[in-house]
Amino acid sequence: MSKPRDKQLTTDQVVAQLEDGMTIGIGGWGPRRKPMALVRAILRSDLKDLTIVSWGGADVGLLARAGKIRKLVYAFVSLDSVPLEPNFQRARQDGTIAEIVELDEGMFQTGLYAAAQRLPFLPVRAGLGSDVLVNNPQIRTVTSPYAHADGDFEELVAVPALDLDVALVHLNRADVHGNAAYLGPDPYFDDLFCMAADRAFVSCEQIVDTAGLTVDSPVQRLLVSRMMVAGVVETPNGAHFTTCTPDYERDESFQKAYAAAAGGPDAEWAAFEQRFLSGDEAAYQEAVRAFHQEAARA
């Protein structure tokens, strides 16, 4: 029997397929189910001048602090329990990101949806009257060809498609072909990111057989189809320190340490980088284990 092809890769093999200047969409939401192992692999690479499109969390903070971002498209950047992301704040206040596109959340979703549907734009109300349109003069409005009941031809925001070169997403389970399921409470927008991109890479907690994907989980949780996916990576704890419910919740104590280092003097950040981000993914996970052992002893 013929089978679809095996798309397993390592995080470094995924990053080897990326190029300077690419537009990369990062799935998840703020501090939730982020493909952090892939983000960390980008941090280890020489990649530069990236356009990052993200519901921003520490993914944006880390890439900004490492000087990887030339252009950022976002509606917010937040760690939730730490409302303001210190590395993102620093980048904005120091002006180190050359191009900034701050959108409304609904506009952001609409832009992804337009790209996923291969449309140049989609109309929404969101943005009208706000400074999103002032600070982004490239975003135009469009007049409805249909009259409203009161006779007005409404002028709406024409949200341009957020076309991506690459999408990076992290789900709980996947098979080697790229079918992937989320097991937590929220799909976020990972399927839209994959469909908005020329190539999508899925990292996951565990690779299982195809049949295993629906053994203990309803079929509705199969969010991503292999037809959307170019490569699959198994990265246990790969969303750390963001949530990956039900496999694990957010690592709040580590996030606190991250935020303190990011918001502290340069030497403190350098020490954090040296301790956690100077080695490969295995070294990172080992350093996180040591961090918690140390905290438990204290």
Partner: protein, 257 residues
């Protein structure tokens, strides 16, 4: 009942902002708004649809930050945007700045291109304010928050919405601004912020002093925000917030001497 605290007055004022909403999705951002919305659901408006702030509609009314209640629906982030467009929603957001015309800023302080302080970003404020009823909660009323002009317009006030055309103003509905000192709306002359009531123990002069623009006043004069009833106090103190988390957001200034 022991003396009513300022936080409890605020909770009742927030609850009152949701009492006439009918069967819509009440979206509180932050602790006091969550307390006020749940108080409304247990008193004035049992039809409110509430969530756990994450992805579930809750059938019951659990205490602040409790989990494990009966679920009546699924509201992941993508469906929140669907409901915003649908319009059956009342969101109470925070505000780092609010100006004379009821525009809100949660994006950045200073020049947008090079802010002196980067905040959250626009989040859903632009879309909320042109699609569904929107209120604001300000736990520290001061002239740093209530400014002549916001640095970045994220939430759109009625005047800006009208200037942007009928598509922007059709569903623009800035309902209430509840602060630790007062209750306001945006129905002053030329769509300006208007002082409706001051909390017990606060004077209108104090509120004006803590505001960097001149507040409009209602024709009948400024009233005093009502105190919560005894049964509301029992619900707040025994049921919704037994750990008194509310006092962390608004310091317990005694209303009665």
């Amino acid at each position: 009942m022991p003396d009513v605290t300022r936080a409890e007055v605020c909770a009742a004022a927030i609850a009152d902002a949701f009492k006439d909403d009918g069967e819509i999705f009440a979206s509180p951002m932050g602790m006091l708004p969550m307390l006020g919305v749940r108080l409304a659901k247990l008193t004035s408006n049992p039809d409110l649809v509430i969530s756990d702030g994450e992805s579930l509609f809750l059938a019951g009314v659990p205490p602040l930050f409790a989990t494990g209640d009966v679920v009546e629906g699924w509201i992941p982030f993508r469906k929140v945007f669907d409901v915003i467009g649908y319009g059956r929603r009342h969101v109470m957001m925070g505000a780092s700045q609010v100006d004379r015309h009821g525009n809100q800023n949660i994006s950045a302080i200073g020049d947008f291109d090079r802010p002196t302080r980067q905040l959250l970003g626009s989040r859903g404020a632009p879309g909320n304010t042109v699609n569904n009823r929107t209120s604001y909660w300000v736990p520290k009323h001061s002239s740093r928050v209530f400014v002549e002009r916001v640095d970045v317009v994220t939430g759109v006030g009625p005047k800006r919405a009208k200037e942007a055309g009928p598509a922007a103003s059709r569903y623009n509905d800035i309902h209430r601004i509840v602060t630790n000192l007062a209750v306001l709306d945006v129905a002053g002359p030329d769509d300006t912020v208007r002082l409706l009531s001051v909390h017990p123990g606060v004077s209108a002069e104090q509120v004006q002093e803590a505001t960097a623009f001149e507040l409009a006043l209602p024709d009948g004069g400024v009233s005093v925000t009502r105190e919560p009833s005894d049964s509301e106090l029992v619900i707040i103190r025994e049921l919704l917030d037994p750990k008194t988390l509310r006092d962390r957001e608004v310091r317990p200034a005694e209303v009665k001497p």
